[in-house]
Structure formats: C-alpha cells, structure tokens
C-alpha cells in the first residue's frame, strides 16, 4: 500500500471510531448547512479546497467532508503560559473554518482563557473537569513558553497559584495530542532570547510526549486551524520535519515560493527601504530578508484571509518560525552573512554564491555573485 492509500485507510478508521461516539448535536452539520443555504456542492467545494491546502490528493476530499461532519466531538484545552496572546488573536482571525464555526461545530472548547466566559474558581473547575472527563482523549494546545527558572515562579495561574510548569505537566499527562501553537510554546520564543532571564523553554523541553510545533510569531490562522483539522480528520500527527513542524505547512522555505524570487535570481535587490527598487518590488535579501533560512508557507497562504504577508509589505522575513530566531537571525534588517548560517542551512549556505551561480546562468551569475561577496565584506 502506498503512503497515501495507507493514510486514507487510517483516516477512514479514525472517522469510524468518531462515529461511535455520542453525537453532540441533534441537527447534523449537513442539515445545518442546508438551513444556512449552503448546498452540498458548496460544502464539497470547501472540502476540496481544504484538501488541497493540506497537500493531499483530491480523493481525500470525501474524507475531509465526512470528518467535518463528525469533528465536533473533539474536546480542546488551550493553555496560555508565558505569552503575548498573539496566537489566540491569530486564532480569532481564522477563516477556514472561522472561529465561531470552530467553536460550534468542530471542537468543544473546554478551556481557553481569552474566549471562555467562566473566570476564577469556575474557570479552574472547567479545566479540572475536562482533564478528568476526557482523559486520554483531549487535544491540548499550548500558547506561550514555560518559565522554568526559580521553580517556575515567574508564572502562576489559578486560585491555587500553580506554576505554568505544573500546569503543563498535568495537562499533558492526559492529552491525546499536544500542539504547541507559536514560537514561544514551540521553542521558547521571545522570552527565551538571550539572556533568557526566566529560563523560558518550549513545551517539548519540559515534557516527554511528542509535540507538534507550529512555529511562527504568531503562526498564521491557516496553520493553526489546518493543524487542528488534520488531527481531527486523521486522528494522528501529521508528517513532521526535524523541528516537529507539520510538513504540509513548513515543508518549503519562504524563499522557495517567494513572489520576489525572480528578482533574487536576476540579482535585483532593494538597497534601502523606500528606494526605486522597493517601489518595483525587488528582492529584500540585502535589507535583511531571512526567507532563505526559514521554513513556512507564508508566501502561498499569506495572513488575514490571504490579505498580505511581510515580504509583500516590503519588509524582509525575520525567520519567526525558526528556533532561537531572535538570536540567530538578528540583526533583522541586515543580511546574515555566510559565517552565521546554522547547520540547517546546508543549502541556504550556498544561496548567495553557489546556487545563484548555478541557477542564474545566463543572467550574469558572476556579477551577482560578486554583489553578494561585497555584502558579506561590508558586514
């Protein structure tokens, strides 16, 4: 059986097991959609789009459609640790599905501090209830890093003033899957930047279970809901890269799909923000773009219902979905220079001189190579 066929089988089995669970709603999604004037055809079109987004072959759209109808049975606990709430805000921007559809139709949002109505003791009861009631079955999403210095006392939550470290360990113990939403929960994020005064760490560094990391500061709404949907549909973790990020979203470098890539290959660069080259949409490498070292689908999915992404807005990528990017990618408005490239970038290392030299044959490769050489020397 090839990989896709195996995945399809797995998805089918997963849906079968979901179907055995008691329904949460008396009216089925299909009926509900019909009531809202959404035809079966519209729904299948959505499923096909979702399938394409997940980089799955078209026959999977049947599975996606079926999953959407069953998916409302997954309990979700979302913890906010050392964070800025940007990932919750990104979730609010979701469009496929949007956040109210997510809440009403796909998951049972048991605990999410930014959205839940309960507060204080009642909020804590919700968390405890969900951890017990759905032990082994709930999806755990975590936003924010775990402060570990001084026994974790840089963060306490709840009437019993539990530390973030205690909470994550308790919640992880009963989770069916754990998703670190954003660079803070994945790799420590901004508070873990040198000298990391609170000993902040990513979730995977403090627990022993597998974690899906959604790098990004914040990750796009598409990557958040797409990952939730993947798990709900297939009941397993998606294929992951070396940093445990889903390959469907983080499989390609920003540079690979960048709309300015042609200008890079042609050796056309913005030298100073706001110059004629900036007005013409030239490549931002020389004003610091970290697209060649960053794995994410920003150029294809963009942000805010595909409205834009930083490179379209004329600012280089800052590499926000990579581990330790606050330290390894700074200064953000200067090119890294080859001497600083980390091990991951075996290919990126050669971007400036070699790849350019090869792929840009016939368009003055040597000249471009020396432009880059000049850049490195300036640094």
């Amino acid at each position: 059986m090839d990989t896709h066929a195996a995945l399809y089988e797995l998805g089918k089995k997963r849906l079968e097991s979901l179907r055995q669970l008691p329904a949460r709603q008396s009216v089925s999604l299909r009926e509900k959609l019909e009531q809202s004037g959404i035809t079966r055809r519209d729904f299948m079109k959505w499923s096909a789009a979702m399938t394409a987004m997940l980089a799955l072959p078209l026959p999977f759209s049947n599975l996606v459609a079926e999953a959407a109808e069953l998916a409302d049975r997954v309990p979700l606990i979302w913890l906010n640790l050392a964070e800025c709430t940007g990932c919750s805000e990104s979730l609010l921007r979701a469009t496929t599905p949007d956040v109210s559809t997510l809440i009403f139709d796909y998951v049972s949002l048991e605990y999410q501090e930014v959205l839940m109505a309960a507060a204080g003791m009642q909020a804590e009861q919700n968390l405890e209830h969900a951890m017990k009631q759905y032990h082994g079955r709930y999806l755990l999403a975590v936003e924010g890093a775990v402060p570990t210095a001084n026994n974790g006392s840089f963060l306490t939550i709840g009437p019993h003033a539990k530390t973030g470290m205690q909470l994550i360990k308790e919640a992880a113990a009963g989770a069916a899957a754990i998703i670190s939403v954003g660079t803070c929960s994945s790799f420590g994020g901004v508070q873990a930047a040198a000298p990391n005064p609170t000993g902040a760490k990513g979730v995977q560094a403090v627990i022993d279970q597998p974690v899906i990391n959604l790098g990004g500061c914040p990750p796009s709404e598409t990557n958040i809901t797409g990952t939730l949907m993947y798990y709900i549909m297939f009941g397993k973790l998606p294929a992951l890269d070396m940093f445990n990020r889903p390959k469907w979203a983080y499989g390609a470098r920003v540079h690979d799909n960048c709309e300015r890539r042609g200008h890079f290959d042609a050796g056309e660069f913005v030298e100073v923000f706001g110059d004629q080259a900036a007005k013409d949409g030239y490549c931002l490498y020389k004003v610091g773009c970290k697209g060649p070292y960053t794995y994410n689908n920003c150029p294809t999915e963009r942000f805010n219902s595909h409205t834009s992404w930083p490179v379209l807005a004329g600012h280089g990528c800052i590499g926000c979905s990579e581990p330790d990017f606050w330290d390894t990618m700074a200064d953000f408005e200067k090119p890294l220079g080859r001497q600083l490239l980390h091990g991951l970038d075996a290919t990126a290392d050669t971007v400036g001189a070699v790849i350019l030299g090869v792929t840009a044959v016939g368009i003055g490769a040597h000249a471009i190579g020396s432009i880059f050489a000049g850049t490195y020397e300036e640094k």
């Binding site: 949460r24 709603q25 050392a82 964070e83 800025c84 709430t85 940007g86 990104s90 609010l92 921007r93 469009t95 109210s100 009403f104 501090e113 930014v114 959205l115 839940m116 109505a117 309960a118 507060a119 204080g120 003791m121 009642q122 909020a123 210095a149 001084n150 026994n151 840089f154 963060l155 306490t156 939550i157 009437p159 019993h160 003033a161 901004v190 508070q191 040198a194 000298p195 005064p197 000993g199 500061c217 914040p218 923000f273 706001g274 900036a278 007005k279 963009r302 942000f303 805010n304 219902s305 409205t307 834009s308 992404w309 930083p310 807005a313 004329g314 600012h315 800052i318 606050w326 953000f332």
Partner: protein, 567 residues
C-alpha cells in the same frame, strides 16, 4: 468577620491577572488587590541589541494591542537619534493605529467584556420576533438582529446546551441577579457577539494591508515604513477604504446601539455606576489629521475637574515598586530606572473557598510596577482620551459625548464609572471610524506630490542618545524610553497603560485605578463575583504589556528569594 475572595484567572483578558477582594458582612468590598502573575523580562533581553530591532522585539510585549508597542518603540529610537519620519509614513502609521483601535475596541466589548453584560442562558428563552422589534428601538437600521437571524443564533446556542457541552460558555455566572438585559436584549447582544467575531477579522485585515499581517505586523522601520508599493497601489488604498467602511457600519449599527441598550438596562445597577475612584485622567495625541495636527489632544485632568486641563509633562512620570516584585530605592523616572526582581511567596490564608495562597499585601504582590504622575495615581484609556478632549472642547468629541448623554439621559457624572469607561471606549472607536478617512485623504493628497516613505537613519557609535515615544494605545497612554550607547541599546523601559491602571499600592499608600475601582462594590454572590470581573474588564486589562517593565542590573537570578512551597 471579613471574607477574602480570590479570582484567578481573570479570563477574557490579555495575560495573567489575579484579583483578591476582602468583603465585609454585607459583601461590600473593603479592600482589593491586583496581582499580575507573569514576568517575562523583555527589557533585559533588549539590552545590547541594535536599536533597529527594538520595534520588532517590543512588539512581542503584546499580541492584542499588537501594533502599539511596535510603533512606540520605533518612535522612541527615532526620537533619540533625531530621525525625521516622512509624512506619508506618519499617515500610514496613524491609519494602522486607527485600525488597531477599531479592532481592539470591538473585540473588547463583545468577546472580552460582553459576557459580563449579556446573559447567554437568558437569551435562550427570548422570543426572536419580539427581539427583532426591540432592536429597532436602539437603531433605525439594526444589524444581525432580524427575526430570522436571531432565531438562527438561538438555535445554534441551543444546540450546544442540548449537547450538555457548553464549550466556552460553560460554568460562568449565568443567572446572576446583576444581569439586567431582558431575554430579548440578551439575544440581540449574543447575535452581535457572533457578528463581532466576523467583523474583527475584517478590522484586522485593514491593518494587514499596510502591515503585511496582524497580529504582529511587520512594516515599520526606524525612519519610516516599508509598504511603499501598497501605498502607491490605488487598488490597495481602495481595499483599505472599503474594509474600513464595513467596520464603521458595524460600529454604528451594532456597537453604538448596544451601548444605548446597556445604558438603559444598567443605569440603576450599582456595580456599573461606580468604579472610577481614581479621578485623575491622562491621554496623549492621536489620529493624525495633518502635519503636527491630531484630532485627540494630549492632557491631564485632576480630581475629575473637567474645567481644567494641564499639558502632560513626560518628566513627571515615575515608577514605584514598594509593593511590586522588584527592589529599588524610591520612585524612579524611566530613563534612570534600576529595578531588580525580588519575588516573594504568596501567603496561605482562609478564603471563601477554603485555604488558598493569597497576596502578601504588607509585602510585595505583583509583577506590575506603580507608575505615578507627580506622585499621583492616574487612570489612562479611552475614558481618559474622551474626558481630556471633552474638557478641551475638541469638537468631534464634544459632539458625540453630548449626543450619547442626550440619548441615554445620563448626566456627565455618569462618565466616571464602569459604564462610562465602557461607553467611552465605544465613542472613541466611533470617532476613530468616522475620522480616519481624514487621515486617509490627507495621505492620498500627499502621495500626489511626494512618494517618500523612508529616510535612512544613522546612529553614531561614539555618541550617547536618549529618547522616548508616546502614543495613545487602545488601553491608553503608552510610553517607551530608551538610552543608546555604542550604537546598541543601553537601557530600555516601557511604561504601559495597564501598568498605570493595574499597579499595586505605592510607598505613600496611594492606591491605583484597578484596586480603587473595586472598593465599595457590593457583591451579590461572593462565590460568583461577576461584579468584580465586570469592573476589571471595563479597563480592558492587558497584563503581558504591564509585566515586562524592568531594568535589570547587576544581580544574578539565583539571588531571588523564592519559596516554592507557597506556589
């Protein structure tokens, strides 16, 4: 005997906040304490980095008011090195700030504070046909409040209830007697809650047009803005105008009428008429109409006296840490702040829920410092912006405030309250929505003759610089303070809105706005302290903003005093 109520987490805010109140035998709050329970230490992290990266890094202070710190930090650097930002960039920055204000205020009223006013369970028993009639009372052209739409909303929520899984609506204070909307009014509010979830997405898109994304846009640089292509694209400009108009429609047809409805229903409810016991209000310039011309003007009002407005003097700002988890010798101006973290444990004591760790009010109990203006606590936020400009006679502000008071029949004094704070945020949002096209038109006019968006700054490594940025963020006056040496960040401080409002008692025993606002509040059910949550939410707490504030010198973290057994 007094009773202690602990509320942690205060949900539907940004960050981590613990509120404790002490009640007398009549369940009236005698004392209150606000404790911020997360520390991240971003100023330490900033030290030694290039000033050009400051904006991107300080932006991560907050993902809700996601643009404010980015802008303020960048302005602090520009102020320090004397970089003059081109007018086009100033206009675009102002438009992004307008987008943020509109987005943030809508999210606050519906998604964060809404459940304090709207009883979701009561909405289930409403008659949708009658509710559609009720909606006509507050707006000639109501939105998402037709009979069919209201019925659909009701069915949607009934589905959740029938399943026994209420999701985000589970276990809240439903049925509390201080909920004052009728079932029909609750249903209208609930329908607008769902509509707001949709509209806030569009509001965020208006910022993403110039910012590349939201949260955490990425187009501001020291010396200007990078989205020059978007600015020069007529299609992009129109996209902004169109989407902003859509948001404005929601504000006029939902947000404004809902505040009229709230004012009517809640005007005899004590918990919403109090809640403004610090009566000093401060705000700064906002909404750029032309070079050096803002619609909202800076100023400070003392003791609620609307007949006098003073100019804000940034040098009178100091921070006190007597009861905050830092040690310092007396209050300090942000340029000279030397703060050392000094965490101490909670104290176990009896509460209405049994024994719990509680704040050490005699010692230190919050990661938030206590900013003071000339030694006095000050409230900041949309209410301050509205009051300062009402007192200054700013035409656009006076008009909407007077109209709102006329329509609700409330006296001016009612502005000094939880209701006033909530209404002022809506009015602030409305003024932004109605006037940001003036900024937009000024930009379009300017582009005709000038396409500049950036001037290249320079920082001399042999010189020392200091500067500050000051803007009006959605939660109020925000200032960032920087010192630069050797072309690197030498010292950094951010004095943020929530710090002004949420700080603990100072060394003179003066109480800040959060804690003062709760004193005198009667709680109907101490186990379900809805009134406390309602008052605190009216400030729109943003805790991550407020707890990063420190300047760290000379002490290693291993020296902190921590008692893990209490945590």
């Amino acid at each position: 005997m007094s009773k202690r109520v602990v509320i942690d987490p205060i949900t539907r805010i940004e960050g981590h906040l613990r509120i404790e109140v002490e009640l007398d035998q009549n369940n009236v709050v005698k004392k209150a304490w606000a404790s911020s329970t997360l520390f991240r230490g971003l100023e330490i992290i900033l030290k030694g980095r290039t000033p050009y990266d400051v904006g991107l890094l300080v932006q991560r202070i907050c993902g809700v008011c996601t643009f404010s710190h980015y802008l303020c930090g960048t302005m602090a650097v520009e102020n320090a090195i004397g970089a003059k930002v081109p007018l086009n960039a100033q206009y675009l920055r102002s438009l992004m700030l307008d987008s943020l204000h509109m987005h943030d205020h809508i999210v606050h009223f519906y998604i964060l504070a809404g459940m304090d006013w709207i009883d979701v369970v009561s909405a289930l028993s409403a008659d949708p046909a009658k509710a559609a009639q009720v909606a006509m009372k507050y707006s000639a052209t109501p939105m998402a409040a037709g009979e069919g739409e209201l019925r659909a909303v009701q069915e949607k929520v009934k589905g959740l209830v029938a399943s026994g899984k209420l999701g985000p609506f589970a276990n809240a204070y439903w049925g509390n007697k201080t909920y004052k909307f009728s079932p029909e009014q609750n249903l209208i509010g609930l329908s607008h809650y769902l509509k707001a979830l949709e509209v806030q997405r569009i509001a965020a898109e208006t910022m993403a047009i110039w910012g590349g994304k939201n949260p955490h846009p990425q187009s501001i640089v020291v010396g200007g803005i990078t989205s020059v292509r978007d600015m020069l694209s007529p299609a992009r400009l129109q996209e902004f105008a169109q989407k902003t108009a859509h948001v404005k429609e929601f504000i006029e047809r939902c947000y404004y009428p809902d505040l009229l409805m709230a004012a009517e229903a809640y005007k005899n409810e004590n918990s919403v008429l109090g809640g403004a016991n610090v009566r000093n209000f401060m705000a700064t310039n906002e909404l750029l109409l032309g070079e050096n011309n803002h619609l909202f003007k800076q100023g400070i009002i003392r003791n609620g006296d609307l007949s006098k407005v003073e100019d804000v003097d940034p040098m009178k700002i100091e921070e006190d840490v007597a009861h905050a988890w830092y040690s310092a010798k007396g209050p300090q101006h942000p340029w000279n702040g030397t703060t050392i973290p000094d965490h101490t444990p909670f104290i176990e004591r009896d509460t209405i829920y049994g024994k719990l760790p509680t704040v050490d009010e005699a010692g230190k109990y919050s990661w938030v410092k206590s900013p003071r203006y000339a030694g006095e606590p000050v409230e900041v936020g949309p209410l301050s912006a509205i009051l300062v400009n009402y007192a200054r006679g700013t035409k656009e502000v006076v008009e909407v405030v007077d109209e709102f008071l006329r329509q609700t029949g409330l006296p001016t004094e009612a502005l000094f309250s939880t209701l006033g704070r909530t209404a002022a945020r809506m009015l602030h949002c409305l003024i932004n929505a109605r006037n940001c096209d003036r900024t937009f038109n000024a930009l379009v006019k300017n582009i005709n003759s000038d396409e500049t968006t950036y001037i290249q700054p320079s920082i001399d490594p042999d010189k020392e610089y200091k500067g500050f940025g000051m803007i009006e963020a959605p939660r109020g006056l925000l200032s960032h303070w920087i010192r630069i040496k050797g072309a690197l960040v030498e010292n950094y401080q951010a004095v943020v809105p929530t710090t002004w409002n949420a700080g603990p008692i100072d060394s003179n025993g003066k109480v800040g706005p959060y804690e003062a606002s709760l004193v005198g509040l009667q709680i109907s059910e101490p186990e379900k302290p809805l009134e406390v949550v309602r008052v605190i939410h009216s400030f729109d707490p943003c805790m991550a903003c407020s707890v990063h504030v420190m300047d760290y010198k000379g002490k290693s973290l291993s020296e902190f005093r921590v008692d893990p057994s209490a945590l």
